[in-house]
């Protein structure tokens, strides 16, 4: 093993000196299948030309690689490209002089670059109010609904059409419980799916200022009557044993795979795992909504991560990065990535190419996330971009848990999310307003 590593190091040393390639460091957080895709993308790009060499490095989970990049930046040796999760977007945008906008890099390098070619709900999230694209959308996911068809059949529920509204979900859950099912529905990423995406899906504000997209003085709005109604509804389901709480983040996903929970709202990124590991027939459907809310369903919000270009590098290196981003945007490269990972296609051309190839027909459900996102967005649904977002997510978890435990009413918990969230938003605004 050591010998092999030494040989590789030696070989790479020779190739570099022979061709004088410019190396571009790329830090990412992709594991399993998605990690292989990252390495393949770098390998294929490196093979397509001989001036630049993309070197992908796995740096741990999203927050680990982010912490590592902060430390590296302070020490003056940040990578060229850094993959940052969506909740870190506002922090990256507010950190002046740390990154270089992707739009500027493409223009300086003279690459053909049309921001309109990108799916607007995806690219819009990473675009400044001025219209300049700041980071390159790489892996984007959204919130969808999974259901266990075998469990539905056992409970005597029609599996041809998934429950599309929350009243239908409650009804299906009641039938599942009556048939002896212990966990009719559970929810992963509760804040993201039940508050954030829920807001956009019903075209109501999650926060003011276009959910923070238009300025740092945004404030939380999640205690609206519709939000209270939904959380109250879920709390009632929890009391009756229809909704069973299974933990924070994506921890609950395991209970869907094992067959313990029959329905689940979570990320499109869960697709690969279900396809590979579920031992039952299952379906993928759009996120449920309330049919009496005007304008619903609108569109769901984005998750996943984007690629940020760090400042202070050489002009030639930026040229290589621009070329690499052009390569990633090519329809066939993009379509292949989308089909392998389950992440959303970032350009319309890639979506159309995938559709023409018959991929969606052969893999039913894979287009659910895409069709939820490829819609004309409104100011209330374009996305949610708040400062101190990581902490706000935790506040959502903490307060919702108290509702599921019956310690707080929906109104109390949501009021508390607004109050605690606003304190963090005020602090973020204050810490960043000078720049």
């Amino acid at each position: 093993m050591k010998l092999k590593l030494a040989a590789i190091a030696l070989a790479s040393a020779f190739t570099v000196s022979a061709q004088a390639q410019t190396e571009i460091q790329w830090w990412h957080s992709m594991t399993a299948v998605n990690g292989e895709v990252v390495n393949d993308l770098a390998k294929n790009f490196n093979a397509s030309q001989n001036k630049y060499k993309i070197v992908p490095t796995f740096k741990g989970t999203y927050d680990e690689s982010f912490t590592a990049a902060v430390a590296a930046h302070r020490a003056g040796n940040a990578p060229h490209i850094l993959q940052v999760f969506e909740v870190g977007t506002a922090t990256m945008m507010a950190s002046k002089g740390v990154t270089v906008p992707v739009g500027k890099i493409m223009k300086d390098a003279g690459e053909k670059f049309d921001p309109k070619a990108y799916v607007s709900a995806v690219a819009g999230y990473y675009t400044a109010p001025s219209g300049e694209m700041l980071s390159f959308p790489f892996n984007s996911s959204t919130t969808v609904f999974y259901f266990n068809k075998d469990a539905f059949k056992a409970a005597g529920i029609d599996t041809a059409k998934a429950p599309g509204t929350w009243p239908e979900v409650a009804l299906a859950a009641a039938k599942l419980k009556a048939s002896g099912h212990k966990c009719p529905i559970s929810i992963a990423w509760q804040g993201w799916t039940q508050l954030e995406s829920f807001s956009a899906w019903h075209n109501v504000e999650f926060a003011t200022k276009g959910n923070g997209m238009q300025g740092m003085d945004a404030r939380m709005k999640v205690n609206s009557p519709l939000h209270v109604r939904h959380i109250e509804n879920l709390a009632n389901m929890a009391k009756q044993g229809l909704f069973v709480y299974k933990g924070r983040a994506n921890v609950p996903e395991a209970s869907f795979i094992s067959g313990e929970c029959a329905m689940m709202t979570t990320s499109t990124g869960f697709y690969g795992n279900v396809a590979k590991n579920a031992k039952f027939s299952w379906g993928l459907a759009p996120l449920p909504h309330y049919p009496d809310v005007p304008g619903a369903p609108q569109n769901t919000v984005i998750g996943g991560a984007s690629l940020w270009v760090m400042a202070g590098k050489k002009a030639d290196e930026y040229k290589g990065i621009a070329q690499f981003f052009s390569y990633l945007s090519e329809p066939n490269v993009q379509a292949a990535t989308h089909q392998r990972t389950g992440y959303l296609p970032i350009t319309m051309a890639a979506y159309e190419l995938t559709e023409k190839s018959g991929f969606y027909g052969k893999n039913p459900g894979t287009d659910v996330g895409v069709t939820q996102m490829i819609r004309k967005t409104t100011d209330k649904s374009r996305g949610i971009r708040l400062g101190n977002y990581v902490q706000i997510r935790t506040i959502e978890d903490e307060e919702l848990e108290q509702v599921w435990a019956g310690k707080k009413s929906a109104q109390e918990a949501l009021d508390s999310i607004v109050k605690r969230g606003n304190e963090l938003l005020e602090r973020f605004e204050k810490a960043n307003k000078k720049s």
Partner: protein, 293 residues
């Protein structure tokens, strides 16, 4: 007259102490000073704009009811960990001390958990108590206890306390065993001849003679519960449900390394430092008086 060895040279003692002093300076005083400095600043994640804000980080903490509630959580957690950890290991040490055969096997097994990293300990206990798949939660259910630390705060606290105690028992055990073995057998035998039963022998002879060890362990366990347990909390409950297991040190870790709010995190670690210094002073001034060396 007292016999003392005195260094003739004025600088030799300093040279001999230099390695130790350097280690303390680099790994303790320097970071502590850094924390003090950062607690007075507010900066963005990348440290681009650093602003002096005086005591604002501390004021924000004082105005946060969640942070104040965390003091109560921490007090409860630390006392449970210290009392249970010390009590259980003393019990085990007393038993291990009486065993004639296979002492080595018992002691080795009891020392093992100390080698386990805190995060691993957290995950281990989490698995055993996972509400739907855990072995122990299954057993509890058959006893009529609906174990669910995801929503039940008492269950969650029990879980992290058990993991933290389990991890520390080995350390305490080692010290107690050494302490027990250094008690002269003649004392105990004399008491036995005088007709004292084991229970009475323990309380009147063994326990008082162990008091220096117990006192030392009390300080060490308090420091352990205050500082070294964030990995257990992070792995097992992430401070939940709600904030019911969010002890002070966990919030320091979370705000500093996950949320990138270094000003607040530094302020919290300063608060923590003050508390532990104060606790240690109290222990040395009041508890130590009851210790017989």
């Amino acid at each position: 007259m007292e016999k003392r060895v005195v260094f003739r040279s004025p600088w030799l003692p300093w040279v001999l102490m230099a390695p130790q002093l350097t280690v303390i300076a680099v790994f303790f005083f320097w970071p502590a000073a850094q924390a003090l400095l950062q607690s007075l600043q507010q900066s963005d994640a990348f440290g681009g704009s650093v602003e002096w804000v005086g005591l604002e980080n501390f004021r924000n903490l004082w105005n946060d009811p969640g942070y104040l509630a965390s003091f109560y959580t921490t007090a409860l957690f630390s006392s449970l960990v210290a009392v249970l950890g010390i009590g259980l290991s003393l019990l085990l040490a007393v038993f291990a001390d009486r065993i004639v055969k296979g002492t080595l096997v018992y002691t080795t097994l009891l020392i093992w958990p100390y080698a386990v990293a805190p995060a691993v300990a957290g995950v281990l206990w989490l698995f055993m108590f996972a509400p739907s798949v855990g072995v122990l939660s299954y057993a509890l259910r058959s006893l009529g206890v609906d174990w669910n630390h995801l929503l039940n705060g008492t269950h969650a606290m029990t879980l992290v306390v058990m993991a933290a105690v389990w991890k520390q028992i080995s350390y305490n055990f080692l010290f107690f065993l050494a302490g027990l073995q250094s008690i002269p057998k003649s004392l105990i035998e004399a008491a036995a001849i005088d007709g004292a039963r084991p229970w009475r022998r323990f309380w009147t002879i063994v326990f008082p003679l162990l008091s220096p060890t117990t006192f030392f362990l009390l300080v060490i366990n308090m420091v352990y519960a205050f500082f070294d347990t964030f990995a257990i909390v992070d792995a097992a409950t992430q401070g939940g449900p709600g904030k019911e297991t969010s002890i002070l040190v966990y919030k320091v870790y979370y705000d500093g390394f996950k949320a990138m709010d270094q000003g607040s995190s530094a302020a919290q670690s300063v608060v923590l430092m003050v508390i532990v210094v104060a606790l240690t002073v109290v222990q040395f001034r009041f508890v130590e008086k009851k210790v017989n060396y």
